[in-house]
């Protein structure tokens, strides 16, 4: 059949674009299997999809803030290396956060001796806080509030911090968090309850400050 010369020629979508479209819409199980088979584009897509979640999680959970990006990279490298072991029964995000948490714990154990005392670090951070009566704009106030939240989170226990981050920050279900952390759902709830209570105590205004 001869092509119609009057009709405009529509360029075909390139193979790369087709591949990218397929990746954008493929489910996590398919993505994991493609990563396991050595698909480089699939590996990039995996990182692109979840890097915000993993990095945000590590910023909250990891004591050593300067190591969060390295730990996040290591998390994805492990996920790519062991993509064949991913179980579609759980969400990819939960699986990645579990890896990130283990790496964070290992890193914390290695840094234990060099880690400054929590009291010293808190004092350093708190000394940078402006006095409450200072005239601050909304952006600055938000930055300060965020810093306070970070400080308060650092004073929680590790299970409390991880549970709050996974549930409220990352939106994982309680059952999934229980699977990731290897503890009963009731224990996860307990960590969440105590963590929230502690955060309220730490963030409550004291001595008349706003």
């Amino acid at each position: 059949m001869q092509p119609d010369p009057d009709k405009p020629v529509v360029p075909d979508v390139t193979a790369i674009q087709i591949s990218q479209l397929a990746l954008d819409h493929c489910d996590e199980a398919t993505l994991a299997s493609r990563v396991a088979s050595g698909d480089r584009q699939a590996a990039e897509e995996l990182v692109r999809r979840h890097q915000s979640a993993v990095r945000g999680f590590l910023r909250v959970v990891c004591y050593d803030r300067s190591a969060t990006d390295d730990l996040a990279q290591e998390t994805f490298l492990r996920a790519i290396r062991y993509a064949g072991r991913y179980d579609p029964k759980y969400s990819m995000r939960g699986w990645l956060l579990t890896i990130a948490r283990r790496l964070s714990i290992n890193h914390g154990q290695k840094q234990k001796r060099r880690r400054p005392q929590p009291g010293v670090e808190l004092q350093r951070l708190e000394s940078n806080q402006p006095r409450p009566e200072a005239n601050l704009d909304a952006e600055e106030q938000q930055r300060i509030t965020k810093q306070k939240v970070t400080l308060a989170m650092s004073r929680l226990t590790e299970p409390q911090r991880v549970s709050i981050s996974m549930h409220y920050q990352q939106g994982l279900a309680l059952e999934e968090i229980a699977e990731c952390l290897g503890m009963p759902v009731g224990t996860v709830k307990s960590h969440l309850h105590r963590g929230r209570k502690r955060m309220k105590e730490l963030l409550e205004p004291k001595n008349g400050e706003v």
């Binding site: 480089r40 590996a43 990039e44 990182v47 692109r48 890097q51 915000s52 990095r55 945000g56 909250v60 990006d69 996040a72 990279q73 994805f76 490298l77 790519i80 290396r81 938000q142 509030t145 965020k146 939240v149 308060a152 989170m153 226990t157 709050i164 981050s165 409220y168 920050q169 503890m183 009963p184 009731g186 224990t187 709830k189 307990s190 969440l192 309850h193 105590r194 929230r196 955060m199 309220k200 963030l203």
Partner: protein, 181 residues
């Protein structure tokens, strides 16, 4: 029923349902969820960094799988085999070519001067002459295998050869001066 323990380290079970977040909690949770500008700015750099490390580790993994020393061992084996083949080919004896191994040693050649007629050597006298010729050839300094100053034992052996063996059944006379040197 809620069971709250004062011991923070003991695992406890919270059987109730979690209360919804109040206003204050909503504020700090929303701050946790915020993606900061730094994360957004270096998102592509982060992806490139992960893929770059993956490529480097893949290269190292492949090398680790095949082993660094295995290619070296293979190369060494090939080199030795090639050297062996070259050596054999270089020293291969061509038809008509005389090598060291095939050369006749001059010290093993009987003295050609007294040309002994080829023939029957069953005659004891002939045997004695042959032995004598051999001994003379053996004692020539230029072709001698023995040292210039033969030891007494060697002298004795030579004398045994030179002694006229007319009757092999005769016992050899004993020497009085046994210089064992």
């Amino acid at each position: 029923m809620n069971r709250e323990s004062n011991n923070n380290t003991s695992p406890e079970t919270y059987e109730g349902s979690l209360a919804p977040l109040d206003e204050t909690e909503e504020q700090w949770v929303s701050l946790l969820r915020q993606t900061d500008a730094q994360t957004l700015a270096d998102r592509d750099d982060f992806v490139a960094g992960v893929i770059g490390r993956m490529d480097r580790e893949t290269g190292r993994t492949v090398l680790a799988k095949i082993g660094f020393w295995q290619p070296v061992a293979v190369a060494a084996t090939v080199a030795v085999a090639a050297s062996g083949v070259w050596f054999v080919q270089k020293h291969q004896v061509q038809p008509g070519q005389e090598t060291v191994a095939t050369q006749t040693s001059p010290r093993l050649v009987a003295d050609p001067a007294p040309a002994e007629p080829a023939g029957d050597t069953s005659d004891p006298a002939d045997v004695g002459r042959i032995i004598g010729n051999l001994s003379r050839a053996a004692t020539r300094p230029a072709e001698a295998v023995v040292p210039q100053a033969p030891s007494a034992r060697l002298e004795r052996l030579i004398e045994l050869f030179e002694y006229p063996v007319a009757d092999p059944t005769q016992l050899l006379p004993k020497r009085s001066d046994t210089n064992r040197g």
